[in-house]
């Protein structure tokens, strides 16, 4: 346990200030040898900033960092590497055309004769580090050819090859399936047994309780507290995270029988080579159809094909009895379909643009005077949705990048609400946002359905799917394996179908 270990890395009084935002305010954090220290907090709480500082990417504005008891000033990620601190980023920066081994030994390639790079030696060493975590990957494979989960394992091997004593995992589970996560936890446990210090960041409480020895909670850039896992329960942790009590059971999602409702959207025989195979389903007025599946099952591809972001090879999409020709998102929107994309920051919002500009963008046509745009109308329109959806922003001109994930998601939603659309597709709308905001987003989606909109809700979280859906479609390898009414959908069945178990 943590009490037995000695402090490997200790940060005291860390502060970091950006223009207009205090990202970290006098935060203490400590990792001991042989412990897994979880770092938790809502988005915007300062977790990422803290690890960027510990990893040498950002300079701190105040505070001290001690490594093995000695004060260090980290100047660059390279410097941090040299001192034995490795950060495994959420979005792993990779050079996808280079091989696994070349990525591991980037800029410190083993040299052979005449100081030239020895590929044989590099591959041999890479294989050794990979074997250490019992991963069977050919070090000569281009890294880009591996799935995300394997890339992550490679970056762990890289951390080991750096002789890192402190390894920081930034939300590693976001891209992993259940089986892969189990594997990751085994690796983490063995790293811990070797006396390394592990920092583990996650939004999922289950993981924190499963892997962690201690947990430190940040909120709004401030330290809420550090507790041994054994001494707190789920309820206490949630309270620490959001600062108030939350009912996260998702209760009140009484599902409707959809059979009687008129179908709005019908999809027949949709195909896209390599990603979607013979997709058939219908969606009813006022229904929320949950779509569950593992990463890579084709959920996002289905959403993108439906709104014309990617072209389907064959198949028909019917809306209210009319066959649609959707060859672009523009055509989809004109017909009444919209998508809230999976990658919120790069596809859902314009980070540098204001809250107002983001909300109004698709509706600008309706916010004109006789000739020119009316900024009065634009501001009123945006303000209306900001108050309706309770988007937390100091003012309408605030750039969206300064909002928390949950509020960014609300901005994406607000963008579509004023447009009289019929079908809303949400791809992982609650991914990476905090517990409180998740619940808010879910109730907004339920309210949409209650107004008679048809909703497709894609999610990787089974409890979320079960709490919100009227029916659940389960995808596996580009197919819809089953469409279950809510009362027949259980955790076990969803898992089963998502892993390819055929209908009995």
């Amino acid at each position: 346990m943590s009490e037995a270990g000695t402090a490997l890395l200790e940060a005291r009084g860390i502060s970091k200030i950006y223009p207009g935002v205090v990202a970290l305010d006098n935060v203490d954090f400590q990792v001991c040898a042989g412990e897994v220290h979880c770092l938790a907090g809502e988005n915007g709480a300062g977790k990422s900033t803290l690890i960027e500082i510990l990893g040498g990417s950002y300079p701190k504005d105040a505070g001290t960092i001690r490594l093995h008891g000695r004060v260090v000033e980290l100047t660059s990620p390279r410097h941090a590497h040299d001192l034995g601190i490795a950060v495994l980023h959420q979005e792993i920066p990779i050079l996808s055309d280079l091989s696994v081994a070349e990525n591991i030994f980037l800029s410190r390639q083993p040299r052979g004769g005449a100081r030239l790079i020895s590929y044989a030696e590099m591959n041999r060493q890479a294989r050794r580090w990979l074997e250490m975590i019992q991963v069977d990957i050919d070090p000569r494979t281009p890294l880009g050819n591996l799935p995300l989960s394997r890339q992550q394992l490679v970056s762990i091997a890289k951390a080991l090859s750096l002789e890192a004593r402190v390894i920081i995992f930034d939300e590693p589970s976001a891209v992993l399936t259940t089986a892969e996560l189990k594997r990751l936890f085994e690796i983490i446990n063995s790293l811990k047994a070797e006396g390394r210090g592990i920092v583990y960041i996650s939004h999922r409480l289950e993981e924190i309780f499963e892997i962690g020895d201690r947990v430190t909670v940040l909120r709004n850039g401030k330290l809420v507290g550090t507790e041994p896992i054994g001494r707190i329960d789920r309820r206490t942790l949630i309270k620490m995270l959001v600062g108030r009590e939350i009912d996260e059971s998702g209760a009140g999602g009484g599902s409707k029988a959809v059979e009687g409702l008129p179908p709005v959207l019908e999809v027949r025989g949709l195909n896209r080579k390599g990603v979607l195979a013979d997709i058939n389903f219908s969606l009813h007025k006022g229904e929320i159809l949950g779509v569950y599946g593992l990463v890579g099952a084709g959920r996002t591809e289905l959403a993108r094909a439906l709104i014309g972001a990617d072209r389907a090879d064959s198949g028909e999409v019917w809306l209210e009895g009319r066959r649609l020709r959707i060859d672009s998102p523009r055509a989809a929107i004109r017909n009444g379909l919209c998508l809230s994309p999976e990658d919120r920051k790069t596809q859902g919002v314009f980070l540098d643009k204001s809250v107002q500009d983001n909300i109004c963008l698709p509706s600008l046509k309706n916010l004109k005077g006789r000739l020119f745009l009316s900024y009065g109308k634009i501001a009123r329109y945006a303000a209306d949705f900001v108050s309706k959806l309770r988007i937390v922003t100091p003012h309408l001109q605030q750039q969206v990048k300064f909002l928390s994930g949950g509020n960014q998601q609300k901005v994406v939603l607000a963008k579509w609400l004023g447009m009289r659309l019929k079908v809303f597709i949400f791809d992982e709308p609650t991914r990476g946002i905090d517990v409180g905001a998740k619940e808010e987003i879910r109730s907004l989606i339920k309210a949409l359905a209650a107004e008679g909109k048809a909703v497709i809700m894609i999610s990787s979280e089974i409890p979320e799917i079960l709490s919100i859906s009227d029916r659940v479609a389960v995808m596996h390898e580009g197919r819809i394996e089953a469409v279950l009414p809510r009362r027949e959908a259980t955790r076990e069945r969803l898992m089963g179908y998502s892993m390819g178990a055929k209908s009995e």
């Binding site: 502060s15 200030i17 950006y18 223009p19 207009g20 935002v21 205090v22 990202a23 305010d25 988005n43 915007g44 990422s48 900033t49 960027e52 504005d61 105040a62 709104i307 972001a309 672009s328 998102p329 523009r330 989809a332 929107i333 004109r334 998508l339 994309p341 790069t346 596809q347 859902g348 919002v349 314009f350 980070l351 540098d352 643009k353 500009d357 109004c360 963008l361 698709p362 600008l364 046509k365 004109k368 020119f372 745009l373 990048k401 300064f402 928390s404 963008k415």
Partner: protein
């Protein structure tokens, strides 16, 4: 402590955006010291005229850079347009006798034709970039060489002397004591500013510039906007070509060599970001004036054109460095 850091970083950003005004003031002071009559109304109006030619292509360049593109072909299209104007007014060159035989009459139709040709060349840039998915830089570099070559080819490398009265008026005419080109430039700036700030087109263009994929998923067609900005850039290059030919009273394929870089520098100094989606035509005025003043001062100092280019290269580099400092520093990459 906290408040101080906050204040300091804010101060940094304010300094960045103020630095270009500071540069302008310093340049004006230097120019006034070098040439005492510098700030006289007559000289200011003259300067305004000399800035207008670069000003036109810089307006077009602003649109392109707002869409996160770059247009290296503007100066060549400018030269080509001037040559076409000259040739249309001296069609006799091709018929073997050198008199004022106009291919198209009256002159406004010639202007219109030249503008359409310039716009089409820009359109072609946009089409190749979007349809064949080739980077902006490569396509417009090709067009830069192609259009300049075309200007030489159709003129046989000759300078075509003598344009008619209307063309001369566009280039050198005065309305009262104000040069006509300057009025035209200011008019273009007003129209473009309205277009960018107060129309759906403008808003959508900024969106496409910042993030084309997010724009596409929001129902905006980035391909349309890309093609349109290059067409606009071609249009302004042709307009600058007509004015320039009128100013010089000749169609000349060697004119405005290297101006694409001046235009890019003007846009970036003005504060339009290379990353796209941020900036505007009004800001570009400032950049054009700064570039124009630097050239003016270098000439006043008696520095020859070639060393001038060297110094301008340094200025461009400095502008880009300052520009990226202003936008990146203090931006919140991870919250």
């Amino acid at each position: 402590m906290k408040a101080k850091i906050l204040r300091d970083s804010r101060r940094g950003i304010v300094f960045m955006s103020l630095s270009r005004y500071l540069a302008l003031i310093i340049l004006v002071i230097v120019a006034t010291l070098l040439a005492p009559g510098f700030l006289s109304l007559q000289n200011v109006l003259n300067l305004l005229r000399s800035f207008s030619f670069l000003g036109f292509i810089s307006i077009g360049m602003t649109f392109v850079i707002l869409s996160a593109g770059i247009d290296l072909s503007v100066a060549s299209i400018l030269a080509f347009s001037g040559v076409v104007l000259g040739l249309f007014q001296h069609w006799g060159i091709y018929l073997g006798h050198v008199d004022n035989l106009s291919l198209i009459y009256p002159t406004p139709f010639i202007f219109l034709t030249v503008l359409v040709i310039g716009t089409l060349l820009g359109f072609l840039n946009g089409l190749v970039i979007t349809r064949l998915k080739i980077v902006d830089f490569a396509v417009t570099l090709g067009m830069m060489v192609f259009a300049r070559g075309l200007a030489f080819a159709i003129s046989g490398g000759r300078t075509i002397f003598g344009l008619d009265k209307m063309a001369l008026f566009v280039g050198r005419g005065m309305v009262g004591s104000v040069p006509f080109v300057a009025i035209l430039w200011v008019f273009a700036i007003i129209v473009c500013t309205l277009l960018l700030r107060y129309t759906v087109f403008g808003k959508n263009l900024y969106a496409c510039g910042e993030n084309p994929e997010a724009a596409r998923l929001s129902g905006i067609d980035p391909v349309f906007y890309k093609i349109t900005v290059y067409s606009i850039s071609g249009f302004f290059a042709a307009l600058a070509g007509i004015c320039m030919a009128g100013r010089l009273n000749l169609g000349e394929p060697r004119v405005a060599t290297g101006w694409e870089l001046d235009a890019i520098a003007a846009v970036v100094i003005g504060g339009t970001s290379f990353a796209g989606g941020r900036g505007g035509v009004v800001q570009t005025i400032l950049g054009v004036v700064i570039i124009g003043l630097i050239r003016n001062i270098l000439s006043l100092l008696g520095i020859l054109p070639d060393p001038q280019e060297m110094i301008m290269g340094g200025v461009l580099l400095l502008a880009v460095i300052l520009g990226s400092l202003g936008s990146r520093k203090g931006s919140l990459a991870h919250a």
